[in-house]
């Protein structure tokens, strides 16, 4: 017998059992028609204003096709999972499903969109609100992959065919390369390859053109597209206490931070860090340029509850504007931003409280319950409304190449305390390390002289985790880069200094290193061969660093 699809206490006669559609008076009860009309009107107005602002002078912006324009009514899309714990990394539990509520009339109805799936979750609406990207498992034997549904026809199609489970998928804006005919839309998803960590990938809407874009030894998760076209994601930093297992499932894997990366994998940069004991994720950006995300603390005991903190930063000054917005005693699901700056918070059903959707206004700190269910946890929810597509990006990356460039203008520039003790002239050499997958081992790739002005210029293996050390006289380690970066093929990554202030711009100087050919840094395999990963003699303390 099929489980009922709606909260029991608001259960109403199903209007179409064949289509698994059901009426959910609960939504209606919480959101009165007047409130809904006002709410939607405000959202549409704010969206229109934001859209006009963003489109600016790039010519007359093409109006996004709204669901109304396509003949589909507005409403909300939500992901439901059976009661018992929704949260990060737990989006596609058996029985999980995606539903669409067209709550615009007198009777709200809830239509399950993924009734043919064993499990489905983590929906994301396309920019024009005509399609939904989601994670789905047709049967219990299938891996979780990325699917897309046309909201008009309800037709679904499989986009990815990954062997391992995908854990997230979002729409990206367009990407353009010099060899392409035109910019192409992209999709980002998160999965992992055998013997490797979870990483972000991009592909075309048809699933082709797969490209991995994160290469740190630590797992990446929770991608979110910012309005400026950068991709925000969580990097789970391994710690000795976690046995260097930084997987999202390892609750001891502390120290995760948010990074940004361009959609072609270039320019990975720290975005925000905060509570060292929490894992940030599930970010979303509001129209006023604030980025909200959830920091989840692992339960203090096996029987304890995961606490959640809602945090906001300004997108433009994310490292300096961290603000704790609200503490939540229980686990929070995904966030969704309204055009008016309000947030949709999804919560899990627990023994103490029902799952539901809460409309949260950060300005007034007011929460309004939109929907609640004692039977279902809500892992994600968002309004069915068009939103502006972030700016597309152009890429220099050439997938045919196996190298990139890394240069530093002045290795003496640093905001780390230990750097203040380094006098000009002390840095003699630079060491380059790489890491095996999962950050369990690392080895030195090369060591070379630094220029007298502190600059250096390297040709490095692409798609490879890299970490540097500055070396003084007699081989003394002066500075350790305590995190990882990677260079994409043909990317030319410039650094101003070694862990310099992230808001400092480069000095306009033609440094000595750039008057010479780059030092060639061999790949790991070129040195010791595959599989040989000697542990370095000087252990590198794994701390909270700068890059992933």
């Amino acid at each position: 017998m099929r489980r009922t699809l709606i909260p029991r206490r608001w259960a109403a006669p199903e209007v179409n059992d064949e289509s698994s559609a059901a009426t959910d008076q609960g939504i209606q009860r919480i959101m009165s028609p007047a409130l809904k009309i006002a709410f939607c009107s405000l959202a549409v107005l704010a969206l229109a204003a934001f859209s006009a602002c963003v489109s600016g002078l790039r010519g007359a912006a093409q109006p996004a096709k709204t669901p109304q324009a396509c003949g589909t009514p507005p409403g909300l899309i939500l992901a439901q999972t059976p009661r018992g714990g929704a949260g990060a990394g737990d989006d596609v539990r058996p029985g999980g499903r995606i539903a669409w509520s067209r709550s615009s009339g007198q009777r709200a109805d809830l239509e399950v969109l993924t009734r043919d799936f064993f499990a489905a979750g983590r929906p994301q609406l396309s920019f024009d609100a005509t399609r939904v990207l989601f994670l789905g498992r047709p049967t219990a034997a299938d891996a979780t992959n990325v699917w897309e549904m046309d909201l008009g026809s309800r037709q679904t199609r499989q986009i990815t065919h990954a062997a391992a489970d995908c854990t997230a998928a979002i729409y990206l804006s367009t990407l353009y390369t010099i060899t392409a005919d035109a910019p192409t839309p992209q999709i980002c998803y998160c999965t992992k390859e055998p013997d490797d960590v979870s990483a972000l990938y991009t592909c075309l809407p048809d699933g082709g053109g797969v490209r991995r874009i994160t290469f740190g030894p630590n797992p990446a998760s929770d991608p979110c597209l910012l309005s400026d076209g950068r991709l925000l994601f969580t990097s789970h930093t391994a710690s000795p206490a976690a046995g260097l297992d930084a997987s999202p499932q390892n609750t001891n894997a502390i120290g995760a931070r948010l990074f940004t990366v361009n959609t072609d994998g270039t320019d990975v940069s720290l975005f925000a860090e905060g509570d060292a004991s929490a894992v940030p994720g599930d970010a979303c950006e509001t129209a006023d340029g604030r980025v909200f995300f959830v920091e989840r603390k692992p339960p203090a005991s096996p029987s304890g509850r995961q606490a959640s903190t809602l945090v906001a930063v300004a997108r433009t000054r994310s490292l300096r504007t961290r603000q704790v917005i609200r503490e939540f005693a229980g686990p929070l699901g995904r966030l969704a931003a309204q055009a008016d700056g309000t947030l949709w918070l999804s919560t899990a059903a627990t023994y103490e409280s029902p799952g539901g959707i809460t409309l949260f206004d950060p300005a007034s700190d007011r929460c309004t319950m939109l929907y609640e269910s004692e039977e279902w946890s809500i892992s994600a929810a968002g309004p069915v409304e068009a939103r502006p597509a972030p700016a597309g990006r152009s890429s220099r990356v050439d997938d045919k190449a196996d190298y990139g460039f890394l240069y530093c203008l002045d290795s003496y520039l640093s905001d780390r305390p230990e750097a203040s003790r380094i006098e000009r002239g002390q840095i003699k050499r630079i060491r380059v390390f790489t890491s095996a997958p999962a950050a369990q081992r690392e080895k030195m790739l090369s060591e070379f002289d630094v220029e007298t002005d502190g600059s250096f210029f390297l040709q490095v293996p692409a798609r490879t985790p890299l970490r540097l050390q500055t070396i003084g006289d007699a081989g003394a380690v002066l500075q350790n880069m305590q995190s990882w970066l990677w260079i994409m093929p043909r990317e030319a990554r410039g650094c101003i200094g070694c862990h310099e202030d992230r808001e400092l711009t480069p000095p306009n100087r033609h440094v000595i290193a750039l008057r010479k050919p780059p030092h060639l840094i061999p790949g790991a395999d070129a040195q010791t061969g595959p599989g040989k990963w000697p542990t370095i003699t000087t252990p590198i303390p794994v701390e909270r660093g700068e890059e992933q």
């Binding site: 076209g229 340029g289 240069y407 202030d501 711009t505 000595i512 290193a513 008057r515």
Partner: protein, 792 residues
Amino acid sequence: MNPTLRRLTMLLSLLAGGVAAWGQALPLYVGREVCLGCHGTPAGPPACKLEPIPAHDRAYSVLDSPQAEEIAVLTGGVGSPTQDLVCLGCHAAASDVGPRWTAPTFQIAGGVQCESCHDAGSLHVQLKRRTDGDDAYSPNRIQRGERGTCKRCHTPRLSHDEVLKRGFGRAPADRRYKTPTKVLVDRDGALIVCCEHSDSVLFVDPQTGSVVREIEVGRRPGAAALSPDGRTLYVSNRLSNSVSVIDRQASKVVAQIAVGAEPHGLSTDSAGKRLFVLNTGQDSISVVDTAAQRETKRLAAGVGPWALVRDDASQRFLVTNVRPNPTGFREPHTTEISVIDEEQAIVERRLDAADANMVQGIAAVPGRRVTLFTLMRTKNLVPITRVAQGWTTTNGLGVIWPDGTIDQVLLDEPNSYFADPTDVAVSPDGRIALVAGGGVNEIAVVDIEKLLATIRDATPHDRAEVLPNHLGMSGRFVVKRIPVGANPRSVAFSPDGRRAYVANALDDTLSEIDPAKLAVVRAIKLGGPGEISEIRRGERLFHNASISFGSEFSCRSCHPDGHVDGLAFDIEADGLGMHPVDNRSLRGITDTGPFKWEGTNPTLQRQCGPRFAVFFTRLAPYKPDELDALVRYICTIERPPNPYREAAGLTLSQRRGKMIFERSVDNAGQPIPENQRCVTCHANAYRASAGKAMIGSTMWLDEPAEIDLTSFQHEEEGQVGVVHFYSERLTMASFDIAHLTGVQAGRPYLHNGGAMALEELWTRFNAFDAHGMTNDLTRRQFNDLIAYLWTL
């Protein structure tokens, strides 16, 4: 009198007048009739092998047509095609020498004539009569008029194809835009607006927001200043090289005062007796006697003087300059703030704004003896590999203290830049400054006390190294960014400080700001057409920084007024740190393809499309219709009139220079190989030709594979390696043959900006005569050659 005798008499009298200081006669153009006097008779010498070509006869007259006008627009012409040197270069003979060097028998209306191919005929006639021979290597030899000569003009011209084949014509709206670039508020609160496109000044009633009067002035009015009594308005006309004097009571222009090239900022002294006019196209400052209404003195400014403000306490004017002063090859630049002693009308001091460029707007802070100016800090020495963290350019404010010390701060935020700050105004109470962000369509509100406190509280190290480079500092003193109209270029406060007005150049409006609310309270329409033409759309795209990640820069950031910023850049595509390339002007470039120094981009669409997105803006490239609009606008970027050309034509020195430019024998009388003659490559109406040439300019940083740069030392940059490359017979690179129109305003020179002045092309970079045979030239000949080149 017998016609032949009359011709001969006329010639002899002209030749007598054309005797030059070299002891030689300089040639005059005599006109078709004189040529045919001999060559057109059965008994005379052989006539031209070509049959008469009717189109050649009509070549001049067709310039007086609507189609020719549209073609001229697409080549950046600013006047009638019949007066435009580029047009005349193919459509008439003797155009570049001017009437001073033509005989009365010469009629420019004759179009393409004998002398178009064979050059000036007077000496030919003289030689023939004197020696009855033609010295094959004489410097005065008549040119043979070879087939290659035809190709100088008979080559595909995009401008012509667009009009004649594809029917391009400007939209009616293109003739009606206002384009307000300067707003003033008089002491009664009335608004005065200079409108660049309509060549007029508008007077706006601040109460009703309506235009009450429009007065036509010269071409492209860019700035205005009131006399101390407010009765006279002076308007600088950028393309007329003049200042219009408007009697406000009579509401009419009462005088036009000739000044230097491209006048922009101007101001009277405190007594109203002198007017200081900044000639941004000529790096000079005209001092005008307002009573006599004539220029009495000219001062040397920095490069591209733009705006000025009077410091009442010191009775000095502070002058901004757009482009940096020349520095060493790949050395950091500095831009000059010129200090003028008002009483003596002299440049008393030259302050350096280190690492700054595009220094434009300037305003004094009442009661504080502090002056603010807008600036950019372009990172031209750093490879353009990122558009984040201010990697390509930053935008900010400079502060000049009473002792001349200059501090700089940024108005940018991380990944939210304040591109193209163009003007600054300070409230009468000295509390806030409003800065126009031309590229982001915003006004930044700066709390001046907080700004000054930020600077005062910083250590000397931080003032020098951190404040000018830190994107986070703006949060301390920029209290708000106010969205305004398209491309704000000028901002001014009302005398009572209750209102401020912003001139939005590209939507023909003023934004009225309430400084108390820090918000726009009204948009004042100035009367331009509501529609947006393709060219206008392209102009907006050109000036809008949303094309780059974080709005870090616009096209205009490096091409102010479609020209150059005077910097050479390190672009990623050709190697990091290597192959610096000089920025090139966009003025009149339609027919000068291929583009890029490597000459690899056949069209502007290619130049501005994918490559620009991938290597510069890092955002999605322009959509096809956007790209077409942008290119259309770029094709219309105007070529200002050349200040070094007299209406009568070339001076004697310039005429001699032209002969050197076209010479085929050296000073020893030896023939110059064709590929070492200036005119071989710089051949057509633009003094260019399609293709590339190896001119021996390969330097350090151009060809890293050929030399061991590990021994390359900083102090050796002065040698730049040209001699090394040539003498060692290392591989030399070929570069696009640069067109020479407007070359006087285009420094630095060469593909990498290595030559800071034209002279250096030959004195530093042409040791082996690879860039034309010049090592035999005397100092005076160099001067003549340069004098001629400056007229192009």
